[in-house]
């Protein structure tokens, strides 16, 4: 494992990039919430606000040929993986220009070009897929890594245990990223798990396991770089628990009866964007005009994405049966 690949270079360029990526997610999703109240976006909408450092840090460690499997809270993952904001927004509008052609919606973002395999809305359902993608790579002799994001709620699912066992047993190159935001919808970790130390659970499957402060983008990136380098070197799976927090409601229908406002405020004080921005300013890697420029750049990108989605078109109802199966079998 080379040191260069695992070290985070905290120069101006990289600091700007990390803050830009987190800000893109934050502002994009704030816009989504606004559009939801205007009924431009319908269905379920699960916001990632507060957890941005996880997707941003992990994606920094990936190569273009690696595969990503995510959950129904995946707007941020798609965005920083490289799916265009316009294609994501158009998908949420249900337009055929969307990244899933309007068939998926917020919970089912897909993109072949960036090997983004969804958008899985069954808790735990994505883990076996990631193992399979990694199995295909292993059998074909490719050195790709398949990254699987899931929440700590998935840890209670059988598919979590089945897949961790399978990946360790078969030595599959999977990076399991547990986004532990402490609540499975409204059920706190300590009222759903007998063992609340999730990285310890993973370790018992004989896989390398690590836990990191998921509110610190630099820590996440460093841990992810170490993990991905280890996977590429050994071909074995690696488990990374990122301890994070969701600032917003589970979905747009959640009155948040299960947690105290003070708790949310306390976590917001440790917010990944505020924290990183403050550090970068103090360290002199970024200055106020940089921050302003980032905000302007992001505002422009989002305005363009909304315009793209607004200008998008509805798939003709005559196409209803498209993409259920192949038009013609091979």
């Amino acid at each position: 494992m080379s040191k260069a690949s695992t070290k985070v270079q905290l120069d101006h360029t990289h600091c700007r990039h990390l803050l830009l990526q987190m800000t893109r997610i934050r502002r994009f999703e704030e816009k989504c919430a606004e559009l939801y109240t205007q009924e431009k976006i319908r269905g379920f909408l699960h916001l990632y606000i507060g957890e941005e450092a996880v997707a941003v840090g992990v994606m920094e460690a990936l190569a273009p040929q690696d595969a990503v499997v995510a959950t129904y809270r995946e707007h941020g993952h798609a965005l920083v993986r490289g799916v265009s904001a316009g294609a994501i927004m158009a998908e949420m509008y249900g337009k055929q220009e969307g990244c899933s052609g309007g068939r998926g919606g917020s919970m089912h973002l897909f993109d072949a070009a960036t090997r983004f395999y969804g958008g899985n809305a069954i808790v735990g359902g994505g883990l076996p897929l990631a193992a399979g993608l990694a199995l295909a790579d292993k059998l074909a002799g490719r050195s790709n890594v398949s990254v699987c994001f899931f929440g700590e709620g998935a840890v209670a699912e059988g598919e979590f245990h089945e897949t961790l066992n399978l990946a360790a047993l078969w030595q599959l190159p999977v990076l399991f990223v547990c986004e532990n935001n402490l609540y499975a919808m409204g059920t706190a970790l300590d009222i759903s798990e007998s063992e609340t130390d999730i990285s310890a659970k993973a370790a018992c499957y004989r896989m390398q396991s690590d836990a990191v402060d998921g509110m610190n983008v630099v820590n996440v990136e460093a841990a992810a770089r170490r993990a991905v380098a280890a996977i590429r070197e050994t071909g074995r799976p690696y488990f990374l628990e990122c301890r994070t927090y969701r600032f917003r409601a589970h979905s747009m229908f959640d009155p948040q009866l299960y947690r105290a406002k003070a708790e949310v405020e306390e976590w917001k004080g440790r917010g990944p964007i505020t924290r990183f921005k403050t550090w970068a300013l103090e360290a002199g890697e970024l200055n106020d005009p940089d921050i302003e420029a980032i905000e302007q750049e992001v505002a422009h990108e989002i305005a363009e994405a909304v315009a793209f989605a607004e200008a998008g078109t509805w798939e003709p109802v005559g196409h209803l049966f498209h993409n259920v199966g192949a038009e013609r079998r091979a």
Partner: protein, 326 residues
């Protein structure tokens, strides 16, 4: 011409597929060292090695899902689930991923996986090893459901299933594994159409899978008593070959459907509904069904026999539709 068993026919098809395409591999519980619960894959581990004949833990959801992921990753996996009863542990993966990903991704990803499983009762294995769930799976858009009833179909359905860019489920009735038939070289088999296994003029007996043998025996008995039957083997439960179903009934104007699934909400109910929707004016009599009785399949032999479709029940149903006394 040599006699070959249904079991050997499937093994031969797996071997041919693996020799022809390095992307093909088999995985499932006990497919390797044990040789397959029904000995279908016996000897293949020695021939192809553990990477391609892959024993799995008892983790139906994980290995079925891994098959789906591997298919999306460019492989052509054959997943064996020991019986369809166990497939319920993998139902999330089959229904929520395999059947939906092409659609949810707007056609960007497809899942070329083949999932084989044993089905059916008649072996005194009780209620958790004897059910026929192929009709359930036929409910799901996005997958193809096959039920090979003959040695020829057992030999020939795998290759086109593997060539299908979408998920294909193959239900092998466990009572058929020892059935043998003469096979003459390779066969070109399609996975789109039903097949007329016997031609007649008075009544159509419509069936599939493990009930084909019973239905053909019933047809012979009926013939002796002067009733001539078309026997239609559906072969493909999804998508149904509706044209073939309508054509045989247009000819005979009467139908009995034989289905080892339970009656309520079954594939036989679906066939009946389609006949009523599109073939109503061709019917000279109400359609009848012979299905499994609505009980979990019992262990005791006499009760199990009473629960499953029988030759005598098929004969009686056909005679009743013909207006003959039992």
């Amino acid at each position: 011409m040599t006699q070959i068993s249904y079991r050997d026919a499937i093994r031969g098809a797996i071997r041919d597929a693996m020799q022809a395409d390095p992307r093909v591999f088999l995985m499932g519980e006990d497919v390797g060292h044990y040789g397959g619960c029904y000995a279908v894959s016996k000897g293949l581990l020695e021939e192809f090695g553990p990477d391609r004949i892959r024993d799995t833990p008892l983790s139906e959801s994980a290995f079925t899902g891994a098959g789906i992921g591997a298919a999306m990753g460019g492989m052509r996996p054959i997943v064996e689930i020991m019986t369809c009863n166990f497939s319920l542990l993998a139902l999330d993966q089959i229904m929520n991923n395999a059947a939906t990903i092409r659609h949810m991704s707007g056609g960007q990803f497809n899942v070329p996986i083949v999932i084989r499983m044993a089905t059916g009762g008649g072996r005194q294995l009780g209620a958790q090893h004897s059910h026929s769930l192929e009709g359930w799976y036929a409910h799901i858009p996005g997958i193809r459901v096959l039920a090979p009833a003959t040695v020829e179909d057992a030999a020939g359905m795998l290759a086109p299933a593997l060539a299908d860019p979408d998920p294909v489920l193959i239900f092998e009735n466990a009572l058929l594994y020892n059935e043998a038939a003469a096979m003459n070289g390779s066969v070109d088999i399609d996975i789109d159409h039903a097949a007329l296994r016997r031609e007649g003029s008075d009544i159509s007996l419509i069936t599939y899978g493990g009930s084909l043998g019973k239905t053909l025996a019933a047809a012979e008995e009926l013939y002796v008593s002067g009733i001539s039957s078309d026997v239609l083997d559906l072969r493909v439960l999804r998508p149904l070959d509706e044209d073939a179903i309508l054509a045989t009934v247009a000819k005979t104007r009467r139908a009995v459907i034989v289905d080892e699934g339970w009656r309520t909400g079954s594939i036989s109910a679906e066939i009946m509904a389609r006949l009523v929707e599109r073939g109503f004016w061709n019917l000279d009599a109400p359609i009848a069904r012979v299905c499994s009785e609505e009980v979990p399949i019992p262990y005791a032999r006499h009760l199990e026999e009473a629960a499953l479709p029988s030759i005598s029940a098929i004969v009686a149903a056909a005679r009743s539709v013909m207006g003959r006394s039992a």
